[in-house]
């Protein structure tokens, strides 16, 4: 069963959320009930023995890694050990992406890249000494939490477990519940009404040719926004009702003034993950090791590496790689304009000029999404 896709899914979901809401309104912790519901939904989502086996193998593998990692670190606390464990954590995803064919696709489980990023975050934070001991229950509940299993948002383990330790009071839960219900409905409207209408009446009838491509670019951008932001809202809403405040994933991307701003508004949980665990780490290592004469070089190379990682994370197809390179380049240009052109930043803050910046940014990211869609390749 595909999450948030059919009427029957919503019937089951609502039935499952009612007891959670009752617990919440009584001020009781929801996590154990939430774990049971998660398990049942995993059975529904991964509904063949093979899929469920892959998921179980994946979870056991990641659990073993996060348990063994601190023990190894105690003996040898060296950076290559971190790299090794990150690589080991990526193994299922790598096997899947390279499609090593042993009787069909291997580890072809829904949300594999999301699952992998959640596990890697735990490994890196453990290396940084930010996570002490991680409990089996907390870890599994965190990586497998069903509302965000297939398409995010990508939560952070420290935020998640802290929330599990301090259940919400009745009043706090009421607020969370109301927000959750609202997000669930808004998300369903985005996804089922708006994105479906755009898909059926705008994208499907389009022919081939330049003008059609231009039209597709606008249509696809709107379609993807309503589809994905809607999906995220439904996941976040469901999580809220289960007492988990998943972070927002979209924040008015069409109001972005430049590409940096765009990435703080679009697929936020992925872009901030990459910012924190790829860009920042690379730049800090480069600055500490004085790898480059000009410190800004570290930032530019950091952007390219980060955005290429984002492209590859989506898949190994050419259009994803070009998509990553395109955004890496845009981030560098963005930075160069900000730093080298006097008065550029000031102009961006001037309300009179802002509509123009917005319009340019919309076109830059829409073109990016046209690449992403694969239509040009």
């Amino acid at each position: 069963m595909v999450p948030f896709d059919s009427l029957i899914w919503f019937y089951i979901l609502i039935a499952a959320l009612i007891p959670a809401a009752v617990l919440g309104f009584l001020g009781k912790p929801i996590k154990y009930y939430g774990a049971v519901v998660t398990f049942l939904f995993l059975l529904l989502i991964f509904n063949t023995p093979t899929k469920f086996l892959y998921l179980s193998l994946f979870a056991v593998w990641q659990l073993a890694l996060v348990k063994v990692f601190p023990l190894v670190l105690k003996k040898i606390n060296k950076r290559p050990i971190l790299w090794l464990f990150v690589l080991l954590s990526l193994v299922p995803m790598l096997i899947n992406k390279f499609r090593v064919e042993i009787g069909g696709s291997v580890f072809g489980i829904l949300g594999l890249s999301y699952l992998s990023f959640r596990a890697i975050q735990v490994i890196i934070d453990t290396y940084d000494g930010l996570i002490g001991k991680i409990k089996v229950f907390d870890f599994l509940y965190f990586i497998l939490f069903f509302p965000c299993i297939s398409s995010g948002p990508i939560d952070r383990s420290r935020r998640f477990t802290k929330e599990l330790e301090t259940p919400y009071s009745k009043e706090e839960y009421r607020e969370l519940f109301e927000k959750g219900v609202w997000k669930l409905f808004a998300g369903a409207f985005y996804n089922f009404v708006l994105s479906n209408l755009i898909y059926s009446y705008w994208l499907t009838p389009l022919d081939k040719g330049f003008l059609a491509d231009v039209s597709y670019m606008y249509g696809y951008t709107l379609f993807l926004f309503f589809n994905f932001a809607g999906y995220s809202l439904m996941a976040i809403g469901t999580a809220h009702i289960l007492g988990v405040k998943l972070p927002d994933n979209f924040n008015m991307p069409f109001a972005a003034l430049d590409m940096k701003d765009f990435w703080s508004r679009w697929h936020i949980s992925l872009s901030t993950w990459l910012r924190d665990y790829v860009y920042s780490r690379f730049v800090m290592s480069a600055l500490k090791g004085k790898w480059f004469k000009n410190p800004y070089t570290a930032s530019y190379i950091g952007y390219v590496i980060t955005m290429m990682t984002m492209g590859l994370w989506h898949g190994l197809e050419t259009h994803y790689i070009v998509y990553g390179a395109y955004h890496g380049l845009l981030m560098c240009v963005n930075d160069i304009l900000d730093n080298k052109v006097k008065g550029f930043k000031k102009l961006k803050r001037n309300p009179k000029w802002q509509p123009l910046f917005c319009l340019i940014t919309i076109h830059l990211f829409s073109f990016g999404l046209l690449i992403f869609s694969g239509r040009l390749f």
């Binding site: 940084d128 930010l130 910012r275 665990y277 920042s280 600055l287 500490k288 930032s299 930043k345």
Partner: protein, 78 residues
């Protein structure tokens, strides 16, 4: 310690320490004095010059966005 922190911070912001002292609760990011790249350089400088190691993922931006908060954050770890 406080003087030294302000000195490093001021250098990254491209101003004099005295300028920062005028308003210790100014939002460094909103005023355009710091961006995320400068923040990373700042953390590297704190590590190298003061021996205070802070990972970027340890902090929310709201925990380190004013001179006072920077000082508070470093004194806690120093």
């Amino acid at each position: 310690m406080e003087e030294k922190i302000l000195e490093i911070l001021a250098e990254k912001c491209g101003v004099e320490p005295e300028d920062l002292k005028e308003d210790m609760d100014i939002d460094l990011f909103e005023e355009g004095l710091l961006d995320s790249f400068a923040m990373l350089g700042l953390l590297v400088d704190f590590d190298e010059q003061l021996g205070v190691k802070i990972e970027i993922t340890e902090l929310e931006r709201s925990e380190i966005n004013t001179p006072n908060k920077v000082i508070e954050c470093l004194s806690k770890r120093g």
